[in-house]
Symmetry: C4
Subunit: 207 residues, 4 copies
């Protein structure tokens, strides 16, 4: 019992700061990697042609930026409930950050192979792993009351589970389509983030 | 009513930290992308020639750095008044960060096409979108009293509106000039940031 | 004695923030430097071949990410005990950050020379220096009670010493093997991080 | 007088966070830009030759890392005394960050032209500007009591002035030498940071 006074608080602030850093570098890096459109003449058509040549690349980066924004939001929400950390929670956090760091890489791969099944495959797997590792961290967290800042309502747990698992399922469908209709896969990548913007049960608890 | 104890605070600190990260990467990246001047001989003239070849590029980066600094300041001011967040405020924040991340890209494009109308066009649109998305976030914020830290004086709202909308208007003029006198456009890009340094109503509330 | 009221607190928060920034850039940079696999055809075999060509590179980056994650954890733990700083503590911190910043460089070198003794040598030296500089900072810190936030239990000091010195010793063995059996060296680089995930005395003090 | 309740606190925390971000990116970027040594054979001599070819580059990066670390320390010290900000203090801060962001650029230039007068010239000017802009910010800050967290002892002001102006003076000497004996200039760049590690009056106020 005399260990009690040596108990550490291990506030989650540092882990959040590392995450904010990683997200901000990953999001900025997305745009850094865009190739400059090269305009061949001085007419509107020349500009439009140049932009047209980079539009799939541009689109992939826009999708990834929004997706990373949504993941950041989910990650940020988690720390409203969980404000202490331990070795395993941090380890799961590092895994999550690792797959987040791969997003600029798989985006670049998708941009180079936009309507190819393998482009869709690696991208879909990467985004799914982001959700699944964050879900693993959340699951570990909600089962360790010593990490909690407050009671976690039952409906929040249910809603979070639904939101975490939705995109891996949807992205599996995108991957399945990629072998025949990769355009549909890309459409799924565009639509899915929008679903996360629809009001849900969380909003009731937000200011 | 029993949801009240589950109400989350959603302090804006994390969103600000993400923004500080994004601004710091975007600002540092500007300079990373500068090409090294290559000095051909050992005289002053050789150095001056080498610097002369990179001066438009250098100038574009300096303008962008100062502009990003001013935007960071506006963004920072907003969080003196608004200290809580919700899904929509954060979504608008992510949009703002997205266009901020594009600034190194459109700066590179302007540096490669400094006195071309399309260089001015994309750069002007990008900077305008930065102001407009930040303005959208501010507008959303000031109409949600549950996000406020303090009362927002009426004159602050008026002044903020003026400052947010000034640069999109001025940059439209710059774009209009670009088709005939791109030098004037560049001059506008140089002068506009200076306007934001002139004392305004905000200063009265600052230490 | 009238200097007492001028005594500065020099909280470690800023040094930690600098470290979080450096770790987050270093970790994200690791992945940025990965070359895109180039898929030559449209079959599974083509994808597998392309991935196969990058697997050693991929592996080096994964190891480094996990190693940096573990070092970040060690660094983070230190600041549970030490929350004030002075010139020398900060100088040792800057040295630690310097060798951390070299990890993406030595990882790139290992990826280019995976089964060569010199690849293993530089990488092993770099990772060892990370541990040794952090250990130097910790040693300085624990001998300056004016920097402490709380009493540091004796068994924590012993365990920390063990954990700090373990990897330099193990990496020396990896370097020794590299001249004859570089595969064993790489295996040691893979296994060592796992050792740091085994529960240890620290866990008893964590939430 | 009814403006008093609308007075903003404008704590310096955000400006410090932006600075920590910029320093951490600039410091990490230094190392990213290092070229990999290419080892031609399998002997110790081959490794030593490869390292020998990159040693001046390596040296420039090491100097810059330590110099940036010392500047970060100076910057960090300033915020022990000044904890509130206004438009002009922030503007001077952005100028300081701008020249800090140029350090990886001028380091790259020095690495490409190590023993050339123009390499030394740009590098020396850049480092001097870092000190001078930070000094300008400090000077503005110490003359605005409304920004202070605590009384600033007279001897601190004197010592700070000395430390801020020392390196621009010394670097001017380095530049003067560069036209005849660039080796001396590089020696000055190596020695100067060490001077800042010598105990000074500040230490008396630190924990």
């Amino acid at each position: 019992m005399n260990d009690d006074k040596h108990k550490l608080s291990m506030h989650s602030g540092r882990l959040e700061a590392l995450g904010d850093g990683i997200f901000s570098v990953a999001m900025t890096i997305l745009v850094i990697e865009l190739k400059l459109p090269s305009v061949k003449g001085n007419n509107w058509n020349d500009l439009l042609n140049a932009l047209h040549q980079t539009w799939t690349e541009m689109l992939c980066y826009l999708i990834s930026f929004i997706v990373l924004g949504i993941m950041w939001f989910g990650h940020r929400m988690m720390f409203e409930y969980i404000t202490k950390t331990n070795r395993y929670f941090i380890f799961l956090g590092v895994l999550f950050y690792m797959v987040v760091c791969f997003v600029p890489f798989s985006t670049r791969f998708l941009a180079a192979n936009t309507f190819k099944w393998y482009g869709v495959l690696l991208y879909g797997i990467n985004l799914s792993l982001c959700n699944l590792t964050l879900y693993a961290q959340w699951q570990y967290g909600i089962h360790r009351p010593s990490l909690h800042a407050r009671e976690i309502p039952g409906e929040i747990k249910k809603e979070a589970k639904k939101l975490f698992l939705l995109s891996p399922i949807v992205y599996s469908v995108a991957i399945a389509f990629s072998f025949y209709l990769p355009q549909v896969s890309i459409a799924i990548f565009i639509i899915t983030p929008i679903v996360y913007l629809i009001p849900n049960i969380f909003d009731k608890y937000l200011p």
